[in-house]
């Protein structure tokens, strides 16, 4: 009687374990939280981008001289390219997009988009020269506002590797320059360090 009871328990647990193992064999797709910490690989990832953007936006918006300027008006800024000095392919425009979007949404700065200059020119020429647009409603050429500040920076990395350990250090530097005077008004850095260790049975 007792023996039978144990056999059924063993049978049940073996079945449960088998089910768990088989679950691991099926392929499934699931939506994940985009803000979750991501550690799929040691390469530059979404968590690194989000951490950099967050630190830079918080820093620039609370830096006393910048606070003083933005208290009275919303200066116009343009974003230059971020130089990627790492050995990885990293879309640095995506980092500056996130940073400029957050700064814009804070209501403290306005931006001019230098990537759209030719499209804007084409549209203004169409409005003013094609004869198809009512002159009273056409946007005038030569009325755009010039940027007062420029945002630029670079991303560098140091990678060290042994047979079992890979260590990656990223340093993101961002600066804001007053265009007329050439003075760098603000600068900050964000450092990120990640390490991957080979597990006992890992590759």
């Amino acid at each position: 009687m007792l023996m039978k009871k144990y056999s059924s328990i063993v049978g049940l647990t073996v079945m449960a374990a088998a089910l768990l193992v088989l679950q691991g064999c099926s392929t499934k797709v699931a939506y994940q939280d985009a803000t979750e910490v991501e550690t799929a690989t040691i390469d530059f990832g979404s968590t690194d981008l989000q951490q950099i953007a967050s630190k830079m936006v918080d820093s620039v918006l609370t830096f006393p001289p910048i606070v003083q300027v933005t208290n009275e008006r919303r200066p116009v800024m343009f974003v230059d390219k971020i130089k990627n000095k790492t050995t990885e392919h990293i879309d640095t425009e995506s980092i500056t997009d996130t940073i400029s979007t957050r700064i814009l949404r804070s209501g403290k700065f306005r931006f001019v988009d230098m990537t759209k200059v030719s499209e804007v020119r084409e549209q203004l020429e169409f409005q003013n020269e094609s004869g198809m647009v009512n002159r009273n409603s056409a946007a005038q050429i030569g009325r755009q506002v010039g940027a007062e500040y420029m945002m630029y920076g670079n991303l560098s990395s140091i990678v060290k590797k042994t047979d079992d350990v890979k260590d990656v250090y990223y340093k993101f530097t961002l600066k804001v320059m007053h265009l007329e005077s050439g003075i760098v008004e603000w600068s900050d850095e964000k450092e990120i360090r990640k390490q991957r260790e080979k597990s006992l049975f890992g590759r």
Binding site: I9, T13, L20, S54, R102, R105
Partner: protein, 137 residues
């Protein structure tokens, strides 16, 4: 007979651990309302096990250029290293969450008994209160 008993226990333990893993949820929330005179600051604990390891204290806030700036202290109450993640949520005067999904989970590693400052700046001037979530990684 004894062997059967042993394996049954082993499989049951594995099963239990696997199931419990799937149940782990966000841990501690710190809520700060700088303008509220009555209920200024308090902690909400959703995970007792994490709350025994990590605590949030020294909640401070101020206004910088019209933006709410907050500073809190995370402390590892144990003697071993702990990996946690935190995220801010921001609310306007009507308790509506603003800029939902902008703040991402930030991973931090706390050494045994280490304290660390956590800093956040509201995304815009409409923010009047905040919530800090801390969870295990």
């Amino acid at each position: 007979m004894k062997n059967h008993h042993y394996f049954a226990k082993l499989f049951a333990s594995i099963l239990l651990v696997t199931l419990l893993n799937g149940c782990s949820t966000s841990g501690i929330e710190a809520i700060g309302k700088p303008d509220d005179a009555d209920v200024k600051k308090h902690l909400l604990i959703h995970n007792d096990a994490l709350a025994k390891n990590i605590t949030i204290s020294d909640m401070r806030s101020r206004e910088v250029g019209g933006l709410l700036e907050v500073n809190l202290k995370l402390t590892n109450l144990t003697s071993s290293d702990k990996a946690v993640a935190y995220r801010f949520s921001w609310f306007d005067g009507d308790e509506f969450e603003v800029e939902i999904g902008t703040d991402a989970w930030t991973p931090v590693s706390l050494h045994g008994a280490q304290s660390m400052s956590v800093h956040g700046v509201a995304p815009n001037g409409s923010v009047k209160s905040y919530r800090l979530n801390v969870k295990g990684q």
